[in-house]
């Protein structure tokens, strides 16, 4: 299960989406999220779905690979859906037991929430899958660079983020290894109530933290040995430069958000 998390992983491919400037992709993701929470009704849903399918197709990342990321949030999905389903009062109530009820509004919100969450994960993981962490940090660094003036260490934050992303798969693998080692010695992670399960995690967390600190120390030394000295005086191997397709992408994503907003205003309750 733990290997299914695709957030923060990069899927190398040669596609238009991969080649877009990371700033465009960050901006697009932001607008996409706004669109997800703005839209209402079937028309907006169709538009967003179409947009998402198109983006996934253009990215050349296999849909299966993206959907694997959803497995990690199944629990969250189920909880959100059941809360919405059981606790929302509506005009027509189909079923009532104590505080719990199933109503038409409940069903609608539950479905909407599910769609939103799933689309949110697909959209954001599409960004991280098509952008290398380094590009992503470069993009963030560049977009946030005005904050440098008020003494926010933008470069340091960006560097930390990119390293964190790089080590996610490594630490996941390590967790897996430690878990198996503990299981081989009779540890039980699958039985018992939540508290017992949480307690069983402690012998995993301790060695994981120890090794993470050791890695951090090693990495800091390796970075120093390669003359890393903070952001000053650094050049870029892949400097960010907008191309024609970036400008088109900006227009497309702004047009997309505008369309979603317009649909909400003019075609509100359709379905």
């Amino acid at each position: 299960m733990i290997r299914d998390i695709t957030i923060g992983q990069y899927y190398p491919a040669n596609s238009i989406v991969h080649k877009l400037d990371p700033r465009v992709k960050l901006f697009a993701t932001l607008l996409y999220i706004i669109a997800l929470f703005v839209y209402k009704g079937l028309a907006g849903f169709i538009l967003i779905t179409g947009f998402l399918i198109l983006a996934v197709k253009m990215s050349k990342v296999p849909l299966k690979f993206i959907l694997k990321g959803l497995k990690a949030i199944v629990v969250l999905l189920v909880i959100t859906a059941s809360f919405n389903l059981l606790l929302t009062p509506g005009e027509v109530t189909f079923f009532k037991w104590g505080v719990f009820q199933v109503s038409d509004t409940g069903i609608r919100t539950a479905v909407m929430m599910m769609i939103r969450l799933i689309y949110l994960i697909i959209g954001t993981s599409l960004m991280t899958l098509t952008t290398t962490p380094n590009q992503l940090t470069d993009g963030l660094e560049k977009s946030l660079s005005p904050l440098n003036r008020i003494n926010v260490p933008v470069h340091a934050i960006a560097m930390m983020m990119s390293i964190a992303l790089r080590f996610i798969p490594i630490l996941i693998e390590e967790t897996d290894k430690i878990m198996k080692a503990q299981m081989a010695r009779g540890a039980d992670f699958d039985h018992g109530n939540i508290i017992q399960k949480a307690k069983a995690m402690v012998p995993i967390l301790v060695p994981l933290f120890v090794s993470a600190f050791r890695r951090a120390d090693d990495l800091a030394m390796a970075m120093e040995a390669r003359c890393y000295n903070g952001g000053t005086g650094r050049t870029k191997m892949k400097p960010l430069k907008y191309t024609a397709s970036d400008r088109v992408a900006y227009l497309v994503i702004i047009g997309f958000l505008a369309a979603v907003i317009l649909l909400r205003i003019f075609v509100p309750y359709f379905g």
Binding site: Y10, P12, T132, P133, N134, S162, I163, L165, R166, P169, I170, R215, D218, L219, M221, A222, M223, E224, A225, R226, C227, Y228, N229, G233, R234, T235, K236, M237, K238, P239
Partner: protein
């Protein structure tokens, strides 16, 4: 003066109790004198805790000496303003391949060093290209390091150092975490850098087989250099090595045993071919 020279280099690690009083002092380097000439392939042998890694970190200005001096490329490492130039002329490859790769794509990682020292963009690409083909990893340039084998990762790490064009590369037990194939790849790459580019190599290891092809060998124990010489000189002293619980390459050991039991073959045989030749000459 050679490219790396140490004079009475001492490094002490202090262990402090909770109030900050010194509890114990470990002398990791004890008056080490070393002189490495440019273009040499030097091996430093020793057990865990013999101080060999501490020595490596001094060469890269990652530690500062308790006493004595170390010069890299004529620069005194203890001077603050020399730290970056020293790191530019002496690169370092570490033991764990995962913990020294910074980027999530091979080529970006190789470009990390040149970026840090302010190389212009076009030149970074040239250097990355060149460094990757030197270590034979060009076709993996767009890959994620996580998908590579240990030996390949270590070669990427070497490329990252090569791209900074150092005069000298220190390998701090680069093969300790690799399988035999990976070990061969990494050592072959080190030799190729030495022969083709004239890069001075300092290989720190505890595998005897990797030492055989070096120009000069230092053996360390408890922070001191206890033996030094060419591999042939060192390995002809089999009993002395054994006293220090150091292994000898199997071929050398076999030759030594044969010699002890009266077969007429010379001391200090290092390779299988040499042994075969020597035995063929025996009447």
């Amino acid at each position: 003066m050679g490219i790396i020279k140490t004079k009475n280099l001492v490094h002490e690690f202090f262990r402090r109790d909770e109030e900050g009083n010194v509890e114990a002092i470990t002398t990791a380097l004890d008056h080490v004198n070393l002189d490495v000439k440019e273009g040499q392939f030097i091996a430093i042998l020793g057990h865990n805790g013999s101080g060999k890694s501490t020595l490596a970190k001094h060469i890269n200005a990652l530690l500062s000496a308790s006493d004595g001096t170390i010069w890299v490329d004529g620069m005194d490492v203890s001077q603050e303003e020399n730290v970056i130039p020293v790191r530019r002329s002496a690169g370092m490859v570490f033991q764990n391949p995962d913990n020294q790769i910074i980027a999530s794509v091979v080529e970006e990682d190789v470009g990390f060093g040149p970026e840090n020292i302010g190389v212009p963009t076009d030149e970074i690409w040239e250097r990355v290209e060149h460094a990757l083909s030197t270590v034979g990893m060009k076709k993996y340039r767009a890959h994620s390091p996580n998908k590579l084998s240990g030996g390949q990762k270590q070669r990427v790490a070497i490329a990252g150092v090569v791209a900074m064009e150092p005069k000298c590369i220190v390998f701090d037990e680069p093969t300790a975490m690799l399988d035999p194939n990976g070990r061969k790849e990494v050592i072959a790459t080190a030799h190729e850098l030495n022969k083709k580019k004239g890069v001075t190599i300092l290989l720190i290891t505890h595998y005897m087989e990797e030492v055989v092809a070096a120009d000069y060998v230092y053996v360390m124990e408890k922070g001191k250099i206890i033996m030094d010489g060419t591999p042939r000189e060192i390995f002809s002293r089999v009993s002395e090595l054994k006293e220090h619980r150091l292994d000898v390459p199997q071929v050398t050991l076999l030759a030594d045993e044969l010699r002890k039991s009266g077969v007429d073959i010379p001391a200090g045989i290092l390779t299988r071919e040499e042994l075969v030749d020597a035995i063929m000459k025996v009447k």
